[in-house]
Amino acid sequence: MTETEKMRDERGSNAAAEDIKAGGEQTEPGSLNRPSGYTGKRNRIFMLMSLPAIVWYLCFCYLPMFGILFAFKHFTPKPGEFLLKNLFINSPWAGLDNFSFLLRSSDMSGIIWNTLFYNFFFIILGIAIPVFIAIFLTEIHSVKFKGFIQMVMVLPYFLSWVIVGYLVYAFLATNEGQVNHLMRIFVMEGIQWYQSPGYWRVILIITELWKSTGYAMIIYLCAVTAIDRSLYEGAVLDGATFLQRVRYITLPHLRPTICTVFILRIGTILNSDFGLFYQVPLDSGSLQSVTQTLDVYVYKALMQQANFSFSAATSFLQSIVGFVLLMVTNRIIKAIDSESSLF
């Protein structure tokens, strides 16, 4: 049993004991006689608090689950008949036919490679950089300056990709862009950025990190702040340097959080942020060899067709791969360090 589970268990039995006590004092007529220790009063409040989330998941994640059938049917709707009848009765089974369009493309290997490539960097850098910044931010003592840095870093997260796309365009436009403008001042030829695939792997990674780092950092900042300060004080008294404090106090405490984020990110390794890969390169054809990920491909292939069976098949595949990877990663992490695994 892990430490947290132990804690939870203790808390649960305490609460249960309280409940029995409370139940004994309660003499209100009509109150339900539950088996003692069923759920604590406190747990009830917690459950009530999570109710909106449960409702949300039921409505938007579990209720539409029947949509998986789209992937295995030739969806042929009849007008005026309700969706479930159209799906279950009016549409014939397709077996695995809907998956075949993914294999039709000769670039599928390149597309999968792109998806994995970017996700690999996003996962590694998307954890390393926010952790790094979070640790440094806690070392800053000026509250005002800290707040300012935090705000500046989180702000890009709230911009939509369309806007980010045009911000990038303002820098990289061939004729009016700031970068080419600067290059011309230094008597260099401007670059046709949107026709030069070579630079875009880096540009996309920078853009993604710029947008997501601030938000991701908040989680680690909370975790770092939660670490008992007396540990640091003790370490300072013992003569530990800053790096030693980070190495032996901060990072071990952050490990469970980092592992959780890592496992969750692995689960979506075949998914990609459509906005980043489609809006930011402005759907430029020359760049497709480095910007085309699975989601972008599906959008391009199906935009004109409105074929829901094909898109359902792709999503299904992404989920299956994500699920398998998530389970495997979790198992590996559990084997290395049982306290950091997700379940």
């Binding site: 109150s31 009063k41 039921l58 007008p79 008949e81 969706l83 670039d107 004729n175 054809g285």
Partner: protein
């Protein structure tokens, strides 16, 4: 926190789910009609915004249509992807906008989503049948009619719109009424010499407006047939093997290299805000004034046609209305009656097209229409969104610049005399079983499309690459299927009656 509250919240939660479930299991209900008046759900394409005064205008229109034919409509505007979703989910509607470019008519008609109106339209609304004739062919799928083509510009005329103040006034050049596409080069050259930092030819990522109109597109824009007389099945080619088109791509690339086209054209969404561009593309019809309002542009615009008019199946299908296959005969007939009223009653048609007389528009002495400022702000629609454009009054752009009220007569006469007709009108390709290939080809096309049509990439470099990739994705299999369907269609045309048959075969 009491027990009661918990129970209450639980109940609320269940009650909140009830509407979700009921929609899933029953679909959306239909409105009940009172005292014999039929109410139709009429869904049309939302081009830009929903007009602010739509409620007021529809109240007025409904009062008239209720009195004349006992039909009222709920006019609803939906963007293209929403209409697709609506069709796919089997939602109830009575009449829907359908065309070759939004809510694909051929695909939906062959999937059985629309009501077969072949007999109904002749029996119940002969005036409508008469009005649309001879353009029913573009609505024929396997010899049956599933939609009403809206009479508008049925053919596409390709034109340049030039800044006449600059070219004719300042430079003393002459803008002819008709030219070839290459004749524009001296104009571009002159401007580029005067303004080396500017780009004289308007270009966005969607390419020159209507540059594909000279082709019949079997699978848009990947498999095409050049307009010709023979129309043998072998003439169906992938776009990269169509010599005329490749020539055009080469021309665009030449212009791109010469600096006539913006270097980032392949990523530019719109050039509408840059009024200084002296040469723009346009697709319109003879006498159309919408491009030439000097108040809008800040200079006089002169139009020069360089191609067309091309009459293809896709241009004929530019705007249509389909009746839902879920309608009973009563509702289908009401839809056709409404369409008939729109086609034959000019005063009624003008309400949907321009709004309320005196508020949104006024009639000028010669019978044309002038929109008021309120009309421009609060009720501005493209004519084809609400019915046949040709059935409405013609719009003048200003009091001093009057349009010809009989403009459409001239347009349709020109189609008869000068129009270049596609012999393939009436053939629709049934994609069943090849959707996966088409999806893969569309994805490949979208990798190159924008840069080819804007001239950014060199066709002689890129096309061989496209060819290689498309063939790997199953282009030959698709071509074979199209060709065999086309030969079949040609055979049935020779043996049977041409065009629309009277029985269900």
């Amino acid at each position: 926190m009491s027990e009661r509250l918990f129970k209450k919240t639980g109940m609320r939660f269940l009650m909140a789910l009830i509407p979700v479930f009921s929609v899933l299991f029953t679909g959306c209900g239909k409105k009940e009609e009172a005292d014999g008046v039929i109410n139709l759900r009429f869904v049309t394409y939302q081009a830009v915004d929903v007009p602010l005064d739509i409620k007021e205008v529809m109240e007025k229109a409904n009062a008239i249509s209720q009195e004349k034919i006992g039909v009222t409509v709920d006019l609803e505007f939906q963007p293209g992807d929403k209409i697709n979703l609506m069709m796919a989910s089997g939602e109830y509607y009575d009449m829907v906008y359908t065309s070759s470019w939004i809510n694909n008519y051929d695909k939906n008609a062959s999937a059985g989503l629309y009501y077969d109106i072949t007999d109904l339209v002749k029996e119940k609304t002969p005036e409508l049948y008469e009005y649309v004739d001879p353009y029913w062919d573009c609505a024929a799928v396997n010899g049956r009619i599933y939609g009403v083509p809206l009479l508008k510009d049925m053919g596409a005329e390709e034109m340049f719109r030039l800044n006449a103040d600059y070219f004719e006034g300042e430079k003393g050049m002459v803008i002819p009424e008709r030219m070839t596409i290459r004749d524009i080069e001296p104009f571009l050259e002159v401007y580029k010499k005067d303004f080396p930092d500017k780009f004289p030819l308007e270009m966005t990522k969607s390419g020159p407006g209507g540059y594909l109109n000279f082709l019949e597109r079997i699978v848009n824009p990947i498999v095409v047939v050049p307009f010709g007389d023979g129309q043998e099945a072998e003439e169906v080619v992938p776009f990269y093997e169509c010599e005329e088109l490749v020539e055009k791509f080469r021309l665009f690339h030449k212009w791109y290299k010469a600096g006539y086209i913006h270097p980032d054209a392949a990523t530019i969404e719109s050039t509408a805000s840059d009024k200084s561009i002296p040469v723009r593309f346009g697709v319109a019809w003879k006498g159309y004034q919408g491009y030439s309002n000097p108040e809008e542009w800040g200079f006089n615009v002169k139009i020069s046609t360089f191609e067309g008019p091309f009459l293809s199946r896709s241009s004929g299908q530019g705007a249509m209305f389909g009746v839902s296959a879920a309608c009973d005969e009563k509702h289908a007939e009401a839809c056709l009656k409404y369409m008939e009223l729109l086609s034959t009653d000019k005063k009624f048609r003008d309400i949907l097209a321009y709004g309320i007389e005196g508020k949104h528009f006024e009639y000028l002495e010669n019978g044309t229409v002038l929109r008021t400022p309120a009309g421009r702000d609060r009720y501005y629609l493209m004519l084809y969104q609400t019915g046949p454009s040709a059935a409405a009054s013609v719009e003048s752009v200003s009091r001093s610049f009057l349009a010809d009220p009989d403009q459409w007569k001239g347009v349709f006469e020109e189609y008869e005399t000068e129009g270049i007709h596609s012999a393939l009108n009436g053939f629709s390709y049934d994609q069943t079983g090849k959707e996966d290939i088409i999806a893969a080809l569309q994805a490949i096309y979208s990798d190159y499309g924008a840069e080819l049509r804007t001239g950014t990439s060199d066709p002689d470099v890129v096309l061989p690459e496209i060819k290689r990739r498309m063939e790997a994705a199953g282009m030959d299999e698709l071509l074979q299927d199209i060709r065999s369907q086309l030969s079949e269609w040609n055979r049935s045309k020779e043996t049977g009656e041409k065009g629309i048959s009277n029985d269900g075969n």
